[in-house]
Symmetry: C2
Subunit: 311 residues, 2 copies
């Protein structure tokens, strides 16, 4: 059987191999997806993000168990752009719940940056699509940190859960603007610690600033390690899903994401194309020499190549 | 006088305004650089990177004072991609050495991510070029964290100082592969703490793995807050500069960086071009619809646009 047939038939080893191809940007992964594109779009994708130490992976694991208890299958992609080469190992070696690893209904894979950041974003999209075709009902994209690159990746999810914890203090101020805005549902984890109510008030105040959005993100208090509040959080995520589906917003959100991904794909390929054709049509190397010798400035050189592309 | 004339004549307020233009990606900044491109290349650019808490900004400040004592002028760009919108404020508000701020020979600017990561990298390059044209002898690019995006930015420097501290333990293992490789000079800061010797041995061991490089990065022990070891560190950076200059490596390193920047510039402009022309030649929106309706997969759509560009 081909890898493609094995993927559709639910062969986990075929999935695992294709996920590795995705991570390494081998064309085999996208070739399979091309063939099976009509099988995409069935999975619901949930992004889990928040500052380091908020307990994102524990929360993801508990949400996964709650979904499993409801008979749903789950894929988890843990994204770690801060570890260019050891990403996979760091997260993979971390002790996640043993029972998740032995559960055939759950597939976990961590992804580090191999090469540049654009690569990680592309690899994550490819991985999501493979899990989708494989037939997973839910896919989590979990980030390690809360930097701009993680935000860009997690934004591609259908619902984004922003995980915070009490006592972040000034940090909440720091991540408030820009990043907080991507949260569709807020989870205050470790809510048994002092300051959970204050954190909730701070989030409410921030949400008050943005009153004219149709969906007001709910705030859920959880203690992930005790499995407390997980059902409530899951319900709020489901509510967001119902809102997206009934309002038509899910379709337009996915259209927006598709457009962005398409433009990124083209961007990456154009770069490959320009570099491959170096010396022939675009002569990048010759232009670089001209820049170095001050015969031309770098912006004019970029415009010259762009002019050739536009023709 | 035009902004351009004021910049060359050493008007700090003109520089400050152009740096703001650079940060916001206004064309005025690049227009001025285009006109004055033959005045670039005189400054020596030093990248300062390392994990949070290693004391990078204190170290940068002390190196700056040491250079000032030698009669050199300095520009500092503090890069913080983890704070998409508050970056400037966070670093700007932080109490840096007061005497640096009042020293006319030093210009400090912090830069956060406004928009996407590519934007920060581009803004940093523009800022470096402005400081270079202004006539600064040395320019520091200092990063807040040590993620892939910071690495990509700091790699554009002539010399990269990797700042570490004792007791990082497993963290050193984590950042060892990939990131550690960009260090041309290592500084163990807070070297009065326990474990400084062990950290040094760990770095040496890592460097032993890469024996066939011509330049073996030296390791300098410093206590930045006490201004201890700063002269030694500066001497090692200068040694690296002499090595680069005498071996011709500085020229080829800058050529490599120019090529990479040129390709990035083209990549960004191609995206603008494709989106502007949407509906006309490339019909991105029509393709997105086809992808959504599964009439076409996203990879084939990307190839279709690329085919038109290649023609």
């Amino acid at each position: 059987m081909s890898l493609q047939e094995r993927l559709v038939s639910g062969d986990v080893r075929a999935l695992a191999r294709l996920m590795t191809y995705a991570e390494n940007d081998y064309p085999e992964a996208t070739r399979v997806i091309k063939e099976l594109y009509d099988k995409t779009g069935g999975a619901y994708v949930i992004g889990i993000t928040g500052p380091p130490g908020a307990g994102k992976s524990t929360l993801t694991d508990k949400l996964t168990k709650a979904l499993r208890a409801r008979g749903k299958t789950v894929g988890i992609i843990a994204v770690d752009p801060t570890s260019p080469f050891t990403g996979g190992a760091i997260l993979g070696d971390r002790i996640r719940m043993q029972d998740l690893f032995t559960d055939q209904g759950v597939f976990i894979r961590s992804m580090g940056t191999r090469g540049h950041l654009g690569g990680l974003s592309r690899a994550t999209q490819t991985a999501v699509r493979l899990l989708d075709i494989f037939g997973k009902d839910y896919i989590f994209i979990e980030t390690v940190g809360v930097g701009q690159s993680e935000v860009d990746i997690v934004k591609t999810a259908d619902s984004v859960v922003m995980v915070l914890m009490p006592g972040l203090g000034d940090d909440i101020q720091a991540i408030k603007a820009g990043i907080m805005e991507i949260g569709d549902v807020f989870a205050i984890n470790k809510a048994d610690l002092d300051g959970a109510d204050r954190t909730k008030i701070e989030i409410e105040m921030m949400l008050d600033l943005n009153e004219n959005r149709e969906w007001r993100p709910p705030i859920s208090k959880v203690v992930a390690v005790d499995n407390s509040g997980i059902d409530d959080l899951l319900e709020r995520i489901q509510n967001h899903r119902y809102y997206l589906e009934s309002s038509g917003e899910l379709v337009s959100r996915r259209l927006r994401n598709t457009k962005q991904e398409l433009v990124s794909l083209i961007r990456d390929r154009v770069v490959e194309f320009i570099l491959e054709e170096s010396g022939e049509r675009f002569s990048v190397d010759r232009l670089v020499e001209s820049i170095a010798s001050k015969d031309m400035d770098i912006y004019t050189a970029a415009e010259e190549i762009l002019r050739k592309i536009k023709k």
